[in-house]
Symmetry: C5
Subunit: 92 residues, 5 copies
């Protein structure tokens, strides 16, 4: 799983039926020192995350697990809101 920050939201009227009614959030991957670790991605939301939140997200086929037993065409899903981290570089 990776950490990131929600930096935007996306709308798509024409989309796969399994994505209907899902919020599409733009996430910037970050490490725990706050540095960007890769390009932005679009993730589905399961924890009512909003712009500015630091989140934990899963990728690959695990991203579909929170929506089972239905099959949802996603490869990235936010599964937690980061609340506290104890890290070799300090806590926050």
């Amino acid at each position: 799983m990776n950490a990131g920050r929600v930096i935007g939201r996306m709308w798509a009227t024409r989309k796969d039926a399994s994505l209907e009614g899902r919020r599409l959030l733009v996430v910037q991957p970050l490490n725990f020192r706050g540095a960007e670790t890769g390009p932005e991605l679009v993730a589905l939301d399961t924890v009512d995350a909003g712009v500015g939140d630091r989140v934990l997200y899963v990728t690959s086929s695990e991203a579909t697990i929170p929506f089972r037993p239905g099959l949802t065409a996603t490869d990235a899903t936010i599964v937690g809101i980061l609340e506290r981290v104890d890290h070799v570089t300090g806590s926050w």
Copy 2:
């Protein structure tokens, strides 16, 4: 999921039977500031996307979900047309 732009189309007469009748589109991955984020890939289409469209695509085994219950030998599928994005750098 990632954003990209459709920049071409590809034809293959000899191909796996599960790809018969599918449109093969060339997609350039982009971030929301318009910068290229990786090499081009070939994706199947589910939303009637055309050259020039900004699209949302899924990769890995999730790319097969829109074609279930049949099994399709794809690892990248376009699942939405980007219509509007609200992003820390502005909306479009």
Copy 3:
């Protein structure tokens, strides 16, 4: 899916039983401008590809789909021979 060129062939006498009788081809990933986009990989063949052919290949668990219902220990499979590409940089 990605594009590449077949640049070699590999033999392995000791190998997993699911690979018996399969051709192991060495593929150089390319973009549609002909530039190399990553390190070489070894892919199984489903379309009788030969050295020099430009091909379309799938990776990850989708690579096993052309060989179902049997389970084959591959994570890369050639699924098409590139015949024609219309691309923003021209056709070929």
Copy 4:
């Protein structure tokens, strides 16, 4: 599988139900010469690992295997504590 060192711990009150009661550890990927090989990730724990331990972790859908038959929304799981390595550059 990859090697890494546990360098922190993370808490998330709002999270996917399948993550309830699981420890979320921050792992720095390392090679066997001790160099960092990529950005930090968050992994679930199955072997009671602690901060400072060198560990072996799996990613992708294999990360869910230790928690089967239940489905857990993880794409990284620690599956071993590194005890000894014999390596071309020496043993430790």
Copy 5:
């Protein structure tokens, strides 16, 4: 699939039950010109590979296929010993 060379072995007493009795080998990914193409990884062995052998390995969920029907928590498995390669740069 990718090519690599076995450069070490790893021991973990505390590990996931599905890894019990499996040999954990350290593999350096290589291309066919002998250059390193990425960081070392740890792979399970199915072909009795030893240190120094050039091998073919699979990653992702395909790595579990040689151990089916049981579920093994691995994302990298050696599936062949490279014996001969005919490559645009020569044979060996």
